[in-house]
């Protein structure tokens, strides 16, 4: 099955998205920005709809809109606790726009809505692969540059601020990283399930890992394993890949829950 070029593309795209999501999801949980990840996924729909209106690739529309929304959310809510309100305000505004875009193009656009909502990893083209690679490397490089102050500011924001760590700048940069990651992940699992790759790998990492590096490594491994196994299962049993990724990651999380329960009792 791996001889088919669409499977090779699916595997490469899946691996790139899994590695980036595995790293970013740890910070999503530490910074309690799960709602933002979810919201950016929904906003991707507006970005894709806007791109379709103007005749651009959907990834470009998602990237532009998500990045703009990320900067606004980052500026409005630089403290970890304050994020929800900022995200909610931006989300409702952008979703309103999305509804209007869909209304404008309901005839031409309705057919591709499903693939944006649920993703289509088996339809990733070579040019999309290059796009994912460039975005993935950019996200990881940026994360490496800001990782130390980002970890400090995420774990202990009040003391980090007293040490002159630039909380607002970090908040904006992290939301931009999140926006790009969401746009990438939407190609694989779609906007409705983007949450799964941005929350559960990090949650699994935290169930087993004790240090930040350990948690990130476990998170990446669980995301990569889920994507690879899901592609195989999806091909063999003719099931939707995003469904398989979701089920596998949820199963991984429940195994961790059971482990914690057994250890406690």
């Amino acid at each position: 099955m791996w001889a088919y070029s669409f499977m090779q593309n699916a595997l490469l795209a899946g691996l790139m998205v899994a590695v980036v999501c595995g790293v970013v999801s740890v910070f999503v949980i530490l910074r309690r920005t799960g709602f933002a990840a979810h919201a950016l996924g929904h906003m991707s729909l507006t970005g894709a709809a806007g791109a379709a209106l103007l005749g651009f690739p959907s990834l470009l529309g998602q990237l532009l809109l998500n990045s703009l929304a990320a900067v606004v959310m980052g500026l409005l809510g630089d403290k970890v606790k304050k994020n929800d309100l900022a995200v909610g305000v931006v989300l409702t505004f952008v979703l309103g726009l999305g509804a209007y875009f869909l209304f404008l193009f309901q005839n031409n656009y309705a057919g591709s809505v499903m693939s944006i909502l649920f993703g289509n990893i088996f339809a990733v083209s070579n040019s999309q692969l290059w796009g994912l690679l460039i975005l993935g490397i950019s996200v990881l490089a940026l994360l490496m540059i800001i990782s130390r102050p980002l970890i400090f500011a995420s774990i202990d924001p009040v003391v980090a601020a007293s040490r002159n760590v630039p909380l607002r700048l970090l908040s904006v940069i992290f939301f931009l990283i999140l926006a790009v990651t969401v746009s990438m992940a939407c190609q694989v699992v779609g906007v409705l399930l983007v949450f799964v790759l941005l929350i559960i790998p990090g949650a699994i990492g935290m169930q087993w890992g004790e240090s930040i590096y350990g948690i990130v490594a476990l998170s990446v491994m669980s995301a990569v394993a889920a994507v690879v196994v899901a592609l195989y299962v999806s091909y063999q049993f003719d099931l939707p890949a995003s469904f398989c990724i979701t089920m596998l990651l949820c199963a991984g999380y429940f195994i961790g829950l059971i482990k914690n329960y057994v250890v406690k009792s």
């Binding site: 949980i29 530490l30 910074r31 309690r32 970890v80 606790k81 490496m144 540059i145 800001i146 990782s147 130390r148 102050p149 970890i151 400090f152 500011a153 995420s154 774990i155 202990d156 924001p157 009040v158 003391v159 980090a160 601020a161 007293s162 040490r163 002159n164 760590v165 935290m206 169930q207 087993w208 890992g209 004790e210 240090s211 930040i212 948690i215």
Partner: protein, 229 residues
């Protein structure tokens, strides 16, 4: 170490009268006063988080906010977002030069230093345990070790004894005592339990409605019935 000239503190409007202070290097100072008298505002102003209303303040010869890498602040309230299994050691390590960009690198030298600090504050028995499972007193001793990891010249503690039972207070004060013996640094501590810690301090600053006074002994602030000495 700290020089205040005609300093007036406040948020948008003044909450203290103008005052002058001169605190020497490595002095350990207790800050006393009623709620709302400006004690926490004083610490936040030193960090540059709040602007002065008027007058000037210099810390280690610099304006507020310029040398925060040399100041460790333990706030009264804070939000800690550690993962469930992460320990106090992870918290301390994450703060080590946490303002510098790049990947965090926890060298053997840093780990050895963290181990020494954990020993110093008496947190050796639980520093490896998940932080979220620790008691309030245990967490506060981890905060002390965290505050020392960057080798500060000045330590600012805002109500560290609040919410601690007598036993935990004793442990915390013992940890402070050991720090005083082993480290060269200045300390400003706000506390409503000053009588319990007064014997370890060099002088006091009293924030009251009539002014801000510097006293060599706690006796001189006895006129304020609130102080409880």
């Amino acid at each position: 170490m700290i020089n205040c000239n005609n300093l007036i503190l406040g948020y948008d409007k003044a909450i203290t009268p103008a005052f002058n202070l001169a605190i020497n290097d490595n002095q350990w100072i207790g800050i006393i006063g009623k709620n709302g008298a400006g004690k926490s505002t004083f610490l936040k102003t030193m960090l540059g988080n709040l602007a002065v209303i008027s007058g000037s303040i210099k810390i280690l010869g610099q304006a507020p906010g310029k040398i925060n890498q040399l100041i460790s602040y333990i706030p009264q309230e804070r939000e800690i977002n550690l993962a469930d299994r992460m320990s106090g050691i992870s918290l301390i390590l994450s703060s080590a030069v946490g303002w510098r960009f790049g990947l965090p690198w926890y060298s053997h030298k840093l780990r050895r230093r963290v181990a020494e600090l954990i020993e110093l504050v008496g947190a050796g028995d639980y520093a490896h345990q998940p932080f979220n499972t620790l008691s309030g007193g245990q967490k506060k001793r981890i905060y002390l070790a965290q505050a020392l990891v960057n080798q500060p010249r000045l330590l600012l503690l805002d109500e560290p004894l609040a919410d601690l039972d007598p036993h935990a207070k004793q442990h915390f004060i013992a940890a402070l005592q050991k720090i005083h013996q082993h480290q060269k640094l200045g300390l400003l501590i706000i506390s409503h339990d000053m009588h319990e810690i007064a014997c370890h301090l060099d002088a006091f600053i009293h924030f009251s409605s009539t002014g801000v006074h510097f006293c060599e002994t706690i006796e001189c602030v006895k006129e304020d019935s609130y102080v409880g000495v």
